[in-house]
């Protein structure tokens, strides 16, 4: 397995506030990695730096062996690094099909064509394909405003996948989704991810989702990675339990102790 994403000494400061500091992470091709941490721990700052939304104050980010620290979202997307958002970033006043058609034309590099309709038969077919994979075909001709939150999340992720990315960063894919829906949503997403052989890094607050869908976890607290390892190992860690999952660490006692 080759390294796909590697950060070294990655830091971001807002004045005197340390949002992220000295983050050293290596993710290999095909891994499904979860990022956990309480609010303000630095998870989204990390994702925003990796996806070009926020320039790092210092440190190196390599993607596919190339430095990407100074590249913006547009260039990163073209290199195969896509993301979805905690609050789905969609074109609300456009139809679901048009949302996908624009993304497809951009993925083909034909976003500046001013004569040919954006809805070509090939794009409609590709859009129908991803809608079916994401189980949101029923919203095909609806405006995005008519979609429930879970479906919007799926559309947001579907759009991120259209550029045929190598790696996908998902920012809290189940936030705002009902308990009943969240497993369906994640099952759908992970099935598509598995089929496409994508590397995934996703931020998540829900530990049940983390335990069920990822193989490795990065635990953030106060802007630093406090633990990086297999799911069970990280979630059992005393510091992680105290600072991230909220379970107070109980020191082990000798049998018979009161």
């Amino acid at each position: 397995m080759t390294d796909i994403l590697k950060t070294q000494g990655l830091s971001r400061y807002f004045g005197a506030v340390v949002a992220a500091e000295d983050i050293n992470v290596t993710i290999t091709d095909g891994e499904i990695v979860g990022v956990i941490g309480s609010n303000g721990a630095g998870k989204t700052t990390f994702i925003n730096m990796v996806t070009g939304y926020l320039p790092p104050s210092s440190g190196i980010i390599n993607f596919g062996g190339q430095p990407i620290g100074n590249l913006g979202p547009r260039k990163l997307m073209r290199r195969g690094l896509a993301r979805s958002f905690q609050i789905p970033q969609l074109f609300l006043e456009l139809s679901v099909l048009d949302n996908l058609a624009i993304a497809l034309s951009a993925a083909e590099g034909r976003q500046l064509n001013m004569i040919r309709p954006v809805r070509t038969p090939e794009r409609i077919s590709a859009a129908d394909d991803i809608l079916e994979q994401m189980n949101i075909t029923q919203y095909r001709n609806e405006m995005v405003t008519a979609m429930p939150q879970g479906a919007r999340k799926l559309l947001d992720i579907a759009i991120a996948m259209l550029g045929d990315p190598k790696m996908l960063l998902l920012d809290e894919p189940t936030s705002g989704v009902s308990t009943d829906e969240k497993y369906n949503l994640m099952d759908t997403v992970m099935e598509v991810v598995r089929r496409r052989g994508l590397t995934v890094l996703f931020v998540e607050h829900d530990m049940e989702i983390i335990q069920r869908y990822v193989t490795r976890v990065l635990a953030f607290a106060s802007g630093v990675v406090i633990k990086d390892g297999a799911v069970d190992e990280v979630l059992a860690d005393a510091q992680v339990q105290e600072l991230v999952t909220g379970k107070r660490h109980q020191p082990q006692t000798e049998q018979g102790d009161v």
Partner: protein
């Protein structure tokens, strides 16, 4: 092979009907119709910007440049061919828009609106101070011809109308395709969510830049047609109230279809003509009330009446 869409066939039929009706219409109506089409061309540019979420209060800049290109081309370059004069205006306007677009596409909302207004007022100021160009009085446009055809005495208005119809039809057919194209829809996407647009790999500034330059070219053609029809140009073409009128017409028509600016421009010019005739001292009040009613009852413009009807039928 591109097939004509239903709305394109309707546009062609409407253009033919309007052109043929010029043979039986009184001169004042032919003249007014030509001015309305010229205004509609500028408004099409305003609509293009509005679809991308930008409001321009300075489209008079390009309208004036188109008009002055006709005037100056005839006066100093001895060009009398209407198409060459219009082309001259488009070239000059596109060159200016390509420079201004580099700056303006960085701005949004009120900042974009005020900067566009500022640039048009700079041109107005320059022209007012240019005594060689008639200062506030402007100057007359030379007699023109089209591809060697010189309109006979009394036929200038109808010739200008046919010219306006042909150019407007070409612009409308192009824009109809443009609004459905990747670039046209990318403009709407930028209005909706710029963050997502960037994460799709689309350059917001590139899209807005091209959109801005095309809108400027349409403004120039509108100004040139007005100059050819009225036979005169003056600095008020760049004045901010003229740009305001174009925004007014855009709001009146809505952004839903390429035909909307034409319908709105006809209504606007007829309402203004009758308001001035009936209430010479308070015609602006009539226009203000019309705009208020449109905003209250048809916030998406007159075109929404058609879409509502279609939706109701569905």
């Amino acid at each position: 092979m591109m097939h004509l869409q239903k709305s394109e066939v309707l546009l062609i039929v409407a253009a033919l009907v309007l052109g043929l009706s010029s043979f039986i219409s009184p001169d004042w109506l032919v003249f007014t119709s030509t001015l309305a089409i010229a205004a509609a061309l500028v408004v099409m540019g305003v609509v293009m910007l509005m679809r991308a979420g930008l409001i321009s209060f300075g489209q008079g800049l390009f309208y004036c440049m188109g008009g002055y290109a006709v005037g100056l081309g005839g006066r100093f370059l001895d060009v009398t061919d209407a198409l060459a004069l219009i082309g001259l205006g488009v070239l000059a306007t596109v060159a200016l828009a390509m420079v201004l677009g580099l700056l303006l596409t960085r701005y949004r909302e009120i900042f974009f609106a005020m900067l566009t207004l500022a640039f048009s007022m700079i041109l107005y100021g320059i022209l007012v101070k240019s005594h060689g160009l008639g200062s506030t009085d402007g100057f007359g446009v030379v007699d023109w011809s089209i591809l060697g055809y010189q309109p006979a005495q009394g036929h200038e208005s109808s010739t200008a109308l046919w010219l306006a119809i042909v150019l407007a039809l070409a612009a409308a057919l192009f824009l109809n395709r443009y609004f459905q194209s990747s670039l046209g829809l990318a403009c709407e996407a930028i209005r909706e969510n710029e963050v997502r647009v960037e994460y799709m790999g689309i350059s917001r500034r590139q899209v807005l830049y091209i959109n801005y330059v095309i809108a400027a070219a349409l403004g120039s053609i509108g100004g040139s047609l007005t100059a050819l029809t009225a036979g005169h140009v003056d600095p008020t073409m760049a004045y901010w109230t003229i740009s305001g009128e174009f925004v007014f017409i855009a709001l009146l028509g809505g952004t839903g279809h390429v035909a909307a600016p034409f319908i709105a421009a006809f209504i606007f010019i007829l309402v203004r003509t009758y308001a001035v005739e009936l209430f010479p001292n308070s015609w602006q009040l009539i226009l203000g009330v019309v705009l208020l009613l449109i905003i209250l009852f048809l916030p998406k413009g007159i075109w929404s009446l058609f879409t509502r009807k279609r939706r109701a039928e569905a």
